[in-house]
Amino acid sequence: FTGNKRFGGLGSSPPTCRSKCEKCQPCKPVHVPIQPGMSIPLEYYPEAWRCKCGDKLFMP
């Protein structure tokens, strides 16, 4: 996804998800946990941004 290019390229923003969910609307950015391996109790998973419409996820 495209980053925020203020501050000479420093910084980032969440994806806009504009037309990223094929024809599905509305298409919103969400945090999605990525399970890295065997589940480790009491530990959080890393998260990535995905675009969500209904219960479908799309790459930003």
Partner: protein
């Protein structure tokens, strides 16, 4: 006229039977793998053949509880495109012959007990896109020759015992999307070349023995969505260039990073998770972090951070986890944190915070865990806390809180831990605490509480630990405590409790840790059931209590 030739299909049937022979625990799982009664191996469980050539293109034997080993006959399945053996109990080594399956695009041997080296022959698989060997016991190095696989998109070698360095050549791959190396014993440093992975979104080397610094050019890794270098021995500062990253997760915790938190991190609004905990970071928490209005998890605990908690953190409207504990933070708890409507866990323990808990905190309606243990906080418990209906963990211990324990705490019905110990709370223990039916741990020790132990404690049906030691409690031990069937520790010592030890206490079968010493108890110790296990130290300091120890009014030995 018909000439029978040995077709490759028949060889493949033989190869599959050889594979079956080297598996164990096949009796139920591979019943139909039987070339005597059914020579059509394309119909066998987990086998998929090409419609025209009738050669095996896919083998899926995942999660069948298979033991034994992977036979080298696998290499005879020359048209194999996909092999999935994950989630079994396969031991032995990965056969070198795997490299003969030149069409393989997908290999998943994860969640087994495979040992030995990763065979170099894998690099012969020029079509390979997906290689998952995680959760095995593989040793030796990551073969540098893996870089010769031009289309490899996913490489997951996590949770093995791989040693040596991450081959630098591995980084010169434009198609690799996923690199999972967590939980090995890899050494060496993070190479500046890591940013040559221009198609990578997942970079995970958590839990290895990597040393050195974060490369200065880290900001060039602009395709990364997840950067996890946590739990290594990375030193040096967090480079300014980190601000060029587009990551959603930045996990640098559990290293030896020094210096300050760079202000540029406050511009990284794509961050969903920022974890800088358990390092050696110094200086203040940059107020600009309050800009991170999309961040859900902020972990800065276990550093040497100084200065106040910036009120700007109250602008992190999506925040659900805020852990600033175990630092050297000073000043007061900013009331602005009350704006965090999604806050689930707030941990400010073990800092040098002063002043009262702002009443605004009770606006954090989603709050589940609140911990301010080990600060210099004072004032009383805000009455608004009764509105925190989701609270399960409330720890105000080791501060200077005073006043009465509000009866309204008994309305926070989901509490499993209530720790108010080591403060200056006074007055009686509210009877309403007996309503906390989910409570597991109740610690009111080391305060100035007086009055009796409420009989209502007999309703704490889940309770495992009651500690009211070192107070000024009077009255008698309520017989209702005998109803507590899960209690493990009952610590009533150093109070002014009088009367007899109720026989009903012997009904608490799970009680292993009893201390009622240094009270004004009298009578005899119930001579039955579990009470015979408690040492004299449980009863000392009750001058009128009769027991079986030297110095007791009935001692030194009680006749049976």
């Amino acid at each position: 006229m018909l000439c029978r030739v040995v077709s490759p299909m028949i060889n493949e049937g033989k190869a599959l039977m050889e594979m079956k022979a080297s598996f164990s625990n096949v009796a139920n799982m591979l019943l139909d793998w039987d070339d005597v009664h059914n020579s059509d191996f394309c119909s066998w469980r987990g086998v998929l053949c090409d419609n025209l050539s009738l050669s095996v293109v896919s083998l899926n034997l995942s999660n069948l509880n298979l033991g034994g080993e992977i036979s080298s006959a696998l290499g005879d399945l020359r048209s194999l495109q996909s092999v999935d053996l994950q989630g079994n109990k396969l031991g032995g080594q990965i056969p070198d012959e795997l490299g003969n399956c030149a069409s393989l695009a997908y290999v998943d041997f994860s969640n087994n007990c495979l040992f030995g080296d990763i065979p170099f022959s894998i690099s012969k698989l020029k079509q390979l896109e997906f290689l998952n060997l995680k959760n095995n016991q593989l040793t030796g190095p990551i073969p540098a020759t893996l870089t010769q696989i031009p289309s490899l998109k996913t490489l997951d070698l996590a949770t093995n015992q791989l040693t040596g360095e991450i081959p630098r050549l591995l980084y010169w791959n434009e198609v690799l999307q996923y690199l999972g190396l967590r939980g090995n014993m890899l050494t060496g440093t993070l190479s500046p070349d890591m940013c040559q992975l221009t198609g990578l979104w997942y970079f995970d080397v958590r839990g290895n023995n990597l040393t050195g610094t974060i490369p200065d050019n880290i900001g060039n890794c602009t395709s990364y969505e997840i950067l996890d270098v946590s739990y290594n021995q990375i030193t040096g500062v967090i480079p300014y260039n980190i601000g060029f990253l587009q990551v959603a997760t930045l996990s640098l915790q559990g290293n030896r990073l020094t210096g300050r938190i760079p202000e540029v991190i406050g511009l990284m609004q794509a961050l969903a998770v920022l974890d800088l905990s358990d390092n050696e970071l110094v200086g203040p928490i940059p107020p600009i972090l309050g800009n991170l209005s999309f961040t859900g998890k902020l972990y800065l605990h276990g550093n040497k951070l100084t200065g106040p908690i910036p009120p700007e953190l109250g602008n992190m409207s999506r925040l659900s986890y805020l852990q600033l504990n175990d630092n050297e933070l000073v000043g007061t708890i900013p009331p602005e944190l009350g704006k965090l409507e999604q806050l689930f866990e707030l941990n400010l323990a073990n800092n040098h915070l002063v002043g009262p808990i702002p009443s605004n905190i009770s606006s954090c309606a989603a709050l589940n865990q609140f911990n301010v243990h080990g600060n210099l906080l004072n004032g009383s418990i805000p009455l608004g806390f009764r509105n925190l209906g989701s609270l399960t963990y409330l720890n105000l211990s080791s501060n200077s809180f005073k006043g009465k324990i509000p009866a309204e705490l008994g309305h926070i019905i989901n509490l499993d831990t209530l720790d108010l110990s080591g403060n200056s709370f006074s007055g009686p223990i509210p009877l309403t605490l007996g309503d906390l039916e989910h409570l597991l741990i109740l610690n009111l020790s080391r305060n100035y509480l007086n009055g009796p132990l409420p009989a209502e404690f007999g309703n704490l049906r889940s309770i495992q630990i009651i500690d009211v030691s070192f107070n000024f409690l009077s009255g008698v031990i309520p017989t209702e405590l005998g109803l507590l069937q899960n209690i493990n520790s009952l610590l009533l010592n150093n109070n002014k409790i009088h009367g007899k030890i109720p026989d009903q206490l012997t009904n608490c079968f799970s009680l292993v840790n009893l201390n009622i010493s240094f009270n004004n108890l009298s009578g005899t110790i119930p001579p039955m059931k579990n009470f015979s296990h408690f040492a004299p130290a449980s009863f000392f300091g009750n001058p009128f209590l009769c027991g079986d120890w030297v110095g007791s009014i009935c001692g030194p030995s009680l006749p049976k």
